[in-house]
Symmetry: C2
Subunit: 439 residues, 2 copies
């Protein structure tokens, strides 16, 4: 039941007698909350500054020209065609009036939105840890536009080196990937395949063998959370693919054409891909709620935001207690499962029922390195590597993509890429922002 009058500028036609749930963010967490509320006696509004859901696990394939950008994006409104109680608002959230339960939007036509229950699922952003130059010159890989920007830049560097091969020594074809977690390993492997199997055919005059991928990881191993056997497998596969893996190393500063390492070495490199860390969305600090290390919103074990009985935080933006003194990692399954729990909590609170603790069910983790090369660590100590892990990875990602059309398109592209060693969408669409960029 609404406890405050509706904001005068709230134009929606929703039923004023029903509770209004506002979900900030259309990522895995936000979608899971909204879907779980399909049969609840509430109206749901999802607010996101983009009109589409992004399937983050495949961003690196868009960046390396393996998939079309639209293949891994799905219009939020389309996801809820058949769920009549969900509305969408494309806007950025700038703040909240907790007293009036009103969300403030950076939207020219609708500056606020009132709510009875709030679910904050705003996700994460790159964390550059204050490394000089990183925020200006590194290429993050967290949004669809990031992936397209990186693709444009990679192809642009090859065009530049083809026009003036002396740029190779300047680092035009040296690609530094920072972060040896699953994203970094996936990017490094995909770049190596793109260069040596695809672009080597495009650039016949260029000595593409000089293109280098350097993977920097601060820990002594790649894929730190995986088992030693998986770590060794990944490292060996990367090595055979020609990736220069440097563990126990870190980046200390970034310039447009130079990367400085902790060891003092200065790498000539026009490209640094940032896969080293994420932090909670900056929205967390705009909401005037308690935050923990990394800017994540402090929540109780029921996912309620501390001090706000009717508000929840889920997924990457939330510091969700793991029950063992720590917090859960920033992973898609945590977001989805916590999203469903928040929806259940809202329903319980409307029925006057007691809140329950959220329990995360770890279904395992996977990382792909390249063609028929992946590692998977599943429950019951099942560990896969090589082709079985790779096939599992393909299947899981196809199944979890939203929309039949997207699945069909990704499947066709993957089959095509596999059979032909081709990459269709290697087009530079829009300006390249890199050094010596095209006009």
């Amino acid at each position: 039941m609404p406890v405050v009058p509706a904001a005068v500028n709230d134009m929606s036609d929703r039923d004023r007698d029903r509770d209004h749930v506002v979900v900030i963010g259309a990522g895995f967490g936000g979608l899971a909350t909204a879907k779980r509320l399909a049969h609840a006696d509430v109206d749901v509004t999802i607010v996101d500054r983009r009109n589409y859901h992004t399937f983050h696990p495949l961003l690196y394939q868009v960046a390396t020209a393996g998939l079309n950008s639209a293949d891994i994006a799905y219009a939020v409104r389309g996801i809820f065609h058949k769920q009549a109680n969900v509305s969408f608002r494309q806007a950025s959230v700038t703040g909240v009036d907790w007293q009036r339960r009103t969300l403030e939007l950076d939207h020219p036509d609708q500056p606020s939105l009132d709510f009875d229950h709030l679910v904050v699922a705003a996700g994460a952003a790159a964390n550059y840890f204050g490394i000089p130059g990183a925020a200006d010159h590194a290429f993050p890989l967290y949004a669809l536009t990031d992936a397209v920007t990186l693709r444009n830049h990679i192809l642009g560097r090859f065009e530049a080196a083809d026009a003036d091969p002396s740029l190779i020594d300047d680092g035009a074809l040296t690609f530094v990937v920072v972060g040896g977690g699953p994203t970094g390993v996936e990017v490094a492997g995909a770049l190596s395949e793109l260069f040596h199997k695809v672009l080597s055919k495009d650039f016949r005059m260029l000595d593409v063998a000089k293109a280098r991928v350097v993977l920097i990881e601060m820990a002594d191993v790649v894929l730190p959370p995986f088992s030693p056997a998986s770590q060794r497998h990944a490292r060996e596969r990367l090595r055979t693919m020609g990736v220069d893996v440097r563990t126990g190393e870190a980046v200390t500063s970034v310039a447009p054409t130079r990367v400085t390492l902790r060891s003092g070495e200065e790498l000539p490199a026009h490209t640094l891909v940032w896969a080293a860390g994420v932090q909670a969305s900056p929205l967390a600090s705009a909401l005037d709620v308690p935050v923990t290390k990394g800017g994540r919103i402090a929540v109780g074990r029921d996912l309620c935001i501390e001090g706000h009985r009717h508000a929840y935080a889920i997924g990457d933006v939330a510091a969700i207690p793991d029950g063992k003194g720590g917090v859960l990692p920033m992973l898609a399954p945590v977001a989805s499962q916590s999203g469903r729990h928040a929806a259940d909590e809202i329903i319980r609170s409307m029925h006057g029922q007691r809140s329950r603790r959220f329990h995360y069910l770890d279904k395992g983790t996977m990382a792909t390195i390249g063609r028929r090369a992946a590692v998977a660590e599943l429950p019951l100590h099942i560990r896969l590597s090589g082709t079985p892990a790779w096939v599992s990875w393909l299947g899981l990602h196809l199944l979890t993509l939203i929309g039949f059309r997207n699945r069909a398109s990704v499947f066709v592209n993957w089959a095509w890429n596999y059979l032909t060693w081709d990459r269709g969408p290697r087009i530079i669409l829009g300006p390249d922002r890199g050094p010596g960029a095209m006009p």
Copy 2:
């Protein structure tokens, strides 16, 4: 045989004993020239400021969210994987030194490129005829980025109207298409289908029936070059699709939210799609060659540029005599056929043979209006309309698309769109530049 020493900054490894053909532009004309030279004893360099070929006839489907942008683009280097005598250079041409036979490039690493034979296939650009405000506020549809920009804007206007329905009266959902030729008719029909069959499901709270498409054509009929029967068919189909067709009308000025017509009427409209006319690429005037009306390069009947025995102009950028006192229209088949003729002329000139006249073979013309609605006028007075014309249109465009992957993707998308009335890629990727745009 090169007649001048190679420019010092020309880094390519091509054989200096072979003639060098430079082709400006990777459109239908430029590609046809390069392909025709596959077995000639020459090296070919294609220069284009984009690294991909754009299949212009389907741009309107990208703009109306029917196809992915990458579906109608193909990397130029990929097209010539198997043709060893073709190189590519991504650069804009800024001028030419006819004496030294050197092309000047706006490229940071390679400012010039020498040639023995030059083929100018630079295409066309929108012609706003000096209408006040048109260059700043109209949406052209001539490049892939134009199509993506228009798609973002259309979807952004629906989001804005959904947030504040009072914007509908301000013209947020009024889309003016200027030009009743094939492109204008295709855009108008596709917009109408997008609004009433697709977006009406996305925007349940919005009265999408208020979305209007207004087609403005200066002549008294739509599709002026077609037969009266085809014109009537197109007009009737547009009418049943809800398009407000206004013939004998013109636009006199354009503002961000207002379009003023010759009749004095001021239409509230946030969107004006420019399909009213094209002119030769501005490059034509930078080359210091004789140009005709519309800025097209004057060529002889052998396609040689007047005063330059070793240089040719083809396709949209050239004023090609039709042999009856006029010039050939700006159409893809003219570009392809003239491209092949220019290649043959180069071979003939190398063998000391006499030049020949170019003869254009008109294979007919088509325009599609919407689902199972098209008109086609083929040789031997064969005229099709409705479903047979539409199926012919689909088949012809699938066959002329470059690349199996693109054909497969377009076919899958078309089948999907036809069966489901869905449009997959309706995502706003990148900023909307329209009035009241999202931050």
